[in-house]
Each structure stands twice: as C-alpha cells, then as structure tokens.
Assembly symmetry: C4
Homo-oligomer: 213 residues x 4
C-alpha cells in the first residue's frame, strides 16, 4: 500500500473525529466568550479543550502532510486546509470538501442540485456568521466607544454584514474586529451570493417545469 492510499485512508478514518473536534472547538470558544463569571476550574477546562482540539487540527494536518508523496504540491493545492488549521474559526469553509467525501460513498444525492448548493452555502454562512459574532463580541465589547455591547448586537451585525445590508448602527472599531469583519464580508458576500444565485436558478427551473407540463 503506497503513501497516497494511506493518506486517503487516514482522511476517511479521521473525518468524523475532526467534525466532533470542530464542534468542540466552537463550543469551547463560545463558552469562554459568552459566559461571564466562569469559575477558575471551568475556565481552565474550556481553555484546555480549545488547546487540545486545536492541537488535533495541527496534528491531522501534519499527518496528512507526512503521508503525501509530493509535499510541496500538497501545501500548494490544499491551501484552504492550511488556513483553517491556523485559524480554526474558519473551519466551516471545509464543509464543501467533507460533502465531497460523503457523496462518494452514496449512490444518489437526495436533494436537487440547487437545494444542495443552498444547504451547504447557507450552513457555512450560518456557522461563519456565528464564529464571527463570537470573535467580534470578544474583541469589541470592552473597546472605548464600542457599539457592540451585547452578543445580540454582534449577531445583528453579522446578519447585516453577510447580506451586505450594512446599516452601520453596529460596527467593529478595533483593528482585529475590522479584520474579522473584512473576512466575513468577503467570504460572506460570495457564499450568500451563491445561495441567492441557486435560489434564483431553482425558482426559474420550477416555473419552467410548470410551463412545460
């Protein structure tokens, strides 16, 4: 059995553990940001969960890198994997890839093409929006002159940003908050654009089918 096969086997085996680790990471980050009076014991516990899950992501990336025949090519073509390993809050972006692997095991997809694109782009937007809300709330709430006073404000901001409405009643003002905002804008504009495009195409197809029958 050559290396390439072993890497694929690794990816198949580690997949569900990585999904669980991703959810744990997001949960631990959410708890640390959202629960104000965490006792020292719990604080340590959740910080540990964050570190351990992050360590798992790094270990998985290194393992796959070692199991590759052409390591430079792996780094170059799998650049998204490197990004989501360094910034685990962007992990929802790998949903599409996971979907790829899941599809290979099944014969026929259950949903129509547009419905699948909408479901995956929508789910990714939702998770990224949630992660961005947490990050912005974390960075902004104690900044002087902040408009992000509650977590609800941060979620409201994420909604107006993902849909490019941008009221501006709640906006990040710290450098880190603005970098988060810029990433959410750029990634979100593409994902929400994909949802809207698929919906539009699905609607046209549905009306066309009726016209024919």
């Amino acid at each position: 059995m050559d290396r390439q096969q072993r890497r694929q086997e690794w990816e198949r085996a580690s997949e569900s553990y990585l999904l669980a680790a991703s959810l744990l990471f997001l949960t631990s980050y959410a708890v640390q940001v959202l629960v104000p009076g965490l006792s020292p014991g719990w604080r340590t516990f959740w910080a540990l969960v964050t570190v351990v899950t992050w360590g798992l992501f790094v270990a998985d990336y290194l393992a796959r890198l070692l199991l590759s025949d052409d390591r430079r090519r792996f780094v170059r073509t799998r650049w998204l994997d490197l990004i989501v390993t360094v910034l685990p809050l962007l992990r929802p972006l790998r949903v599409v890839e996971m979907h790829d692997r899941m599809q290979r095991r099944r014969d026929h997809p259950r949903l129509a093409l547009e419905a699948r694109v909408m479901a995956y782009a929508g789910l990714t937007s939702l998770l990224l929006g949630f992660a961005a809300s947490l990050a912005v709330y974390h960075d902004e709430r104690h900044a002087p002159g902040t408009t992000v006073r509650t977590f609800g404000d941060a979620v409201w901001w994420a909604c107006t940003t993902l849909t490019t409405t941008g009221y501006g009643d709640v906006t990040p003002i710290t450098p880190r908050g603005r970098v988060t905002g810029a990433v959410l804008m750029l990634v979100g504009v593409a994902l929400v654009g994909a949802v809207v495009g698929s919906f539009s195409s699905w609607l046209l197809r549905r009306f066309r089918r009726e016209g024919e029958t």
Copy 2:
C-alpha cells in the same frame, strides 16, 4: 377514494378560503397596528378576526396532516407550511405554491418565464415588506431612542432592507424588531436577487432576439 386523493381535494376546495383568510389576517393586523384610537368595540372585533383567521390556518394544517398517509413525511417535506401556520405574517411565502396549483388547471401560462418569476418574487417581497413594516412599527415605536417614529419610517426601512441598501438612518433596536429585520434581510435578499436575476436574463434574451431577427 384514498386519503391522498381526499387531501388533494381538500387543498383544492380550501384554497380560495385560505387566500381570503390570509388577506383578512393581514388587514386585521394592519388595522390594529396603524389605527391609534380604536374604540373598544372595534378593538375586540379586529382582535377576534386575527384569532379566528389564525385558527383557520391551524385547522387547515391539522386537517391536511390528518388526511396524509405518511404524517411524518408530510411534516418533513411541507416544513414551509408549518412555519407559515405558526407565523402567519410569513404567509406570502406560500404564493409560489398557490401558483403551482393554479397553473395545473390552465393550459398555457400567459406571461414569459422571467416575467412570471419577477411577478411572483416581486409580489412576495412586497407583501413580506408590508408585513415586516407593520411588525417593526408595532415593536419599535415606543422603544426608548427609537428611529421608527412613523409608519412611513418603517416602510422606508423595509425598502432599504429588501434592496440591501441599508442606510442605517432607521434601524430596529429591540430584540423582536431585529429578529423581524434579520428574517426580512435573509428572505428578501433571496427574493430580490431572484427578481434582479430574472430581469437581467429577460433583458439579455430581449436584446438577443433583436440581434437575430
């Protein structure tokens, strides 16, 4: 005659009554929100209309559920019906489905494909925008520091939200108002995107036809 047939017969028979009930519901909600000095008698009357029409929606949903062969499947595939039964202000979303049934009775649609998509998505946006304006005006007008002082403000806000312009001169600040806003943004962005996409495709087709003749 089996159950499935009886459900379809029920849906055919109840359709026009439900449309009337939907309009009555929206009217009663609009009157209660917009007319300030309603006498106690009229207040009771319109509250009654709201309750009765809502009751009709629930009764219709339960009737169709009972007439289904596979009830779990009915709940799962007809999830939009459940949502619009619980939140009747979202009823305009069922316009597409009504259109489906109407089409089946007629031989040829009168309008071009894009025109139909634009008409239905546009009409749905309009009704949802009106319902959202009412809800936001209802929730926000007495909030301290509100920017929604008149119903005109609320309509203006709905326009800027549906087109994702988002000036931010009028924005909801209460939690319920913001939930309404988020729903309008997400649903509206898809519907207005469908209108824009259809218009763009219609324009391209119109110019192409000219080039050929």
Copy 3:
C-alpha cells in the same frame, strides 16, 4: 391604411421629436432646480418649457391611444408608457423600447450582446440617477435637519443608492424625497444588477474563448 399601421407610422415619425422633448424637459428641470438666482423672465421661460414638453408627452400618448384599435389593450400592455407620461422624470426607462425600434432599421448590431445590455442599462441608470439627484435636491435642501445640502451631496447619494452601498451619511428625510429614493433603489437595483450580470457573463465568455483558441 388601417389604424394600427397609422399608429406605427405616428410612432416612427414622432420618435426623434420625443427624444428632443425628453432632453429639453430634463434640461429645463435641471436649470430650475440648480440655478439659484434665476431672473423672473428666465424662470417663466423654463417653466414654460417644462409645461410645453410635458404637454407634448401627454399629446403623444393620447394620439397613440386614439390610433389604437383596441384601446383597453393599449393601456394594459403599454403601462410603462402611461407611467412615463405621468412622471416624465422616469422617461429614461423607455430607452430600451427606443432601441428596439432603432434596431429594426439596421441589419447588424455593432456591439456584442452583453456590451449592448451594459450600454443601455448603464445609460438608463445614469439618466435616472441624474433625474433622482435633481428631484431629491429639490425636495430636501430646505428641509430642517437635511443632509442634502449641495447638489454634489445629492449625486453622491444617488451613487451610493444605485450601487446599494447605502452609507447613510446622506439620506432623504421628506416623504417625497423618500418615495424618489425608493423608486431609485428598486429600479436601480434591477438595472445595476443587469449591468453586473452582463459584465460577469461577458468576462466569462472572453476567458472561455481564450481557453479554446
């Protein structure tokens, strides 16, 4: 010669006069709004130009209505003509129709399909944006608490509205200004969407062609 033919002949003959009248109408409106210290004589002159050109639009509409075989059908199918007759500032919307008639006389269009859509939708957006800037500047400049202090502010507002950016630093606050804004948003979103869609499609086609050769 029957009526239908006579109407078409009328439309062919009146076209260039109507285009000149449209430009005169926009010019007279612009002069009245933008030149502050107009002498009474010039004021009367330009007001007269406005009234006379508007009268020409009405006369043209009535003439075509009288020359129609089925007058109800004319009103119903040519609803855009009625709207631009009542609100001459929306006249740029008829550019597409004019283009139709011009094309019929020529054999081959000079530009690629997408370029034509972009040119016409872009031109219409530009003219509508200019007309909306004038109308908003006219309605808003003397309103208490206005943000539209100069004509430059109004043009800047029209740009942010047409592209759905919507900063909100300049926004209409009077009812008439907001109606103008809502029309510009809705019409503009569709037109700019058409420009963007055509540009995107043109870019894809250009890159595809390269890949093939």
Copy 4:
C-alpha cells in the same frame, strides 16, 4: 513589415517594462502618502519616480498611437488605454488585457475557467481597492470633520465599499474623495459581482459533477 505588426511587436516588447512601471508608480504613490516625515531628498526622489513612470505611460500610449494605421479607430476602440494613461491609479483594470496576451503564448490554461475569472477580477479589485484607499486617505485625512483618520480607516472603507456593505462609519466628504469613492463603487460592484458570479457558477458545477459520478 507594416505598421500594425510593428505596434504589436512594440506591445509585446514593452509589456514587462510597463508592468514594472505600474508597480513602481503605485509604490511611489504609496510611499508619498503613507510615510509622514519623509526627508526632502527622499520626497524629491519618490516624486521623480511618480513623474517618470507616468511619463513612461504617456510615451507608451503615444508610441502605440503613432504606430497605428487608423489612429481615430485606435483612440475609439482602446478608450480604456486612454483612461488608464490619464489616471494611472486605474491601471489594474488593464490586467485582463495583459492576461489576453499572456494566454496567446501558452497552450493550455492551468486553472479552470471560473478560477481564472475569480483570480483576475479578485486581483483587480484588490489593487484598485488599495489604490482607492491611498487616494482617499490622501484627500480626506486633513479635511475638517473627517472620518478617515488612519490608513486603516481608509482600507476598512474600501472593503465596505467594494462589497457594497457600506456601513457609513467611514465615508469620504471632500469632492475628490467622493469621486474616488464613486469610481470604486461602480468599478468594484462589477468586479466583485463577477467574482461572486464565478464562485456561484463554480460551486454549482462542482456539485453537479459529484451528482453525475
């Protein structure tokens, strides 16, 4: 060898020098805007770089104009070249054209169609956004009542403008800053629209391929 051939040879030969000059121009402009306490010697040096590179653009345009058989046609069809010669900050718009010439030399493009459109439209947006940030920071930072206090503010403004989010917490107020903003909005909306459209189309194609295999 006729003129047309000589112009094409010129374009082939000058291409890489022009690209270097473009980067030098942007660098010199960035240094002059961003480095506050530049010594008189360095200030003169960078001003010279700006002038010399600009002179090269003008010389190249004139050379190509002189080498054209039909000069009027050259000015009319190559209008983008004239614009980027007069306003060198818009030079990134010529990226597509450069790509054309590069493609002609290679047999097969390395990337998928949508990936190439995304890469080129994205790169152009990035460079234009950077140039617009510099220009707006340059024009606005000393204006009374400005909201563009740091270069970070300008970059944040460019992000919200390119994605049409438009919070309005940072906006240009000087006439020149607003013209820059309007250009960025119009050009950016089309380019980002192209990126979103290509991403959406790529996603649909990726999901479709899976469904088939």
